[in-house]
């Protein structure tokens, strides 16, 4: 199992985040990914055959995980309690802030692997494809809530600023700095 890595959420935040596992995060994320697929289909073209693969994303500091099949407008995301976790083609495990940094391109996946901030098991090729597709997607927080224009910029500024502060606070990796 992965060892405790600095940058994980503090215990208090984990406790506060625990009820989120009971929220309908899966359906909300499914809608967000499908909406994004309609807006930027090229991202899913880049994934090619790997769009049919299942990706289990495990935030190491939360009690729930996400199972995603990024199949364009047929994408599915399921949120599940850690104990109910299902087998997947590939599993990636890292602290939540690291996973979010990889999602928005703030952090470099190879560097996080070298530093042992992430662990991977299963089909490495499908994860490489997903990482590269996400890299090119230039995802922003506004993409996940469907916000555009001025509201989108406000969401981006707020969330990115908040994540930056959270990284400093938790000791999570900062781009370019030693972990």
């Amino acid at each position: 199992m992965a060892e405790h890595f600095r940058g994980e959420l503090p215990r208090l935040l984990r406790i506060l985040a625990a009820p989120a596992g009971f929220l309908p995060l899966g359906p909300a994320l499914t809608l967000a990914v499908r909406r994004f697929a309609r807006r930027k289909p090229a991202v899913f073209d880049r994934l090619g055959e790997y769009g049919k693969c299942s990706f289990l994303i495990e935030p190491s500091d939360l009690d729930f995980s996400f199972l995603m099949v990024p199949d364009g407008v047929r994408s599915e995301v399921r949120c599940m309690r850690r104990r109910a976790t299902q087998p997947a083609d590939v599993t990636v495990r890292a602290p939540l802030l690291v996973l979010l940094g990889l999602l928005d391109g703030t952090l470099d996946g190879d560097a996080m692997f070298f530093n042992r901030a992430i662990s991977v098991s299963g089909r490495t090729d499908s994860l490489v494809a997903l990482r590269n597709a996400i890299e090119d997607a230039e995802l922003t927080p506004a993409d996940f809530v469907g916000a555009t224009g001025g509201l989108g910029k406000l969401v981006d500024r707020s969330v990115i600023g908040g994540l930056g502060l959270a990284r400093r606070f938790t000791g999570s990796p900062i781009p370019g700095e030693p972990s």
């Binding site: 790997y50 391109g105 190879d110 991977v120 098991s121 590269n132 230039e138 781009p175």
Partner: protein, 329 residues
Amino acid sequence: MSLELVCPAGTPSALRAAVEAGAHSVYCGFRDETNARNFPGLNFSPDEMIEGVRFAHAHGAKVLVAINTFAKAGAMDAWKAALANAEKAGADAVILADLAVLDHAATHHPNLRLHLSVQAAAATPEAIAFYADTFGVKRVVMPRVLSVEEIAKLNAAIDVETEAFVFGGLCPMTEGRCSLSSYATGKSPNLTGVCSPPEHVAYSEDRNGTATRLNGFTIDRFGAGEQAGYPTLCKGRFVAGGKTSYLFEDPVSLNAASLIAAFAKAGITALKIEGRQRGKGYVTEVVRTFRAAVDAIDAGGTEVEVGRLLAGLVEGGRQTSGAYKKTWR
């Protein structure tokens, strides 16, 4: 500008990131076996290349298209198409290694500027003169087996530009001639454009740490918290003579920032950053840092602390000046 900074881009967004971070030139490839970073989800479609070149030119940067694998006998269509698409996109140069591809480019695309890839491993005045005289090659990427002094002597004996790697992943083997990946997986950077193809890589964790396997061969095992490297045989740990060690090369990244002034003095035209497989975070940080370092040297200033600034991005958590200094001799 005394030194041109040539920066990697695996995706259109990485190209934009490189240009915005200060790249003088960006190198990238098409999404097929014609370039030596043929990883899933990476690289450019012909339309994306057109748009990438347009973006780079609008910002005063050049685009060099890597078509640097060795063409298959009797099946050159992909390489021919890549050359035609690079010219159509308005690429400033193509980076080639294979004799047949060079010949086709020189014959059918005489307006394309030709650079010789590191994959061609041309390290002597005679070899370089052959490529220059026969195909009109204008620039040669130096194999990472030469010292700065050797490059200076080489530059004095040739009439073409030279480009040297300054940062990033480090092949300990002579490029274009390494068969380790082929031995383990049947695929290589030379022919299929990928070293240690990810479909052959597997990681497994147990209480002793993480084991790395390449097509079933266990090539390394990392203890908890120990820095990791790329899953390549050349960076694997093996038992030989009763000792476990990194037999060929440690997991380590090249960082020759301290030699930028020496490179300029040696007559090198361009400095190249490795890493088309890396993310935007890497591209932005490395390009911005090296642009500052090159500008500082140009202005007669002091060296930028590149090693400290980029410590979090390097393989195995370590950096080396590689063969450029050759202190091991």
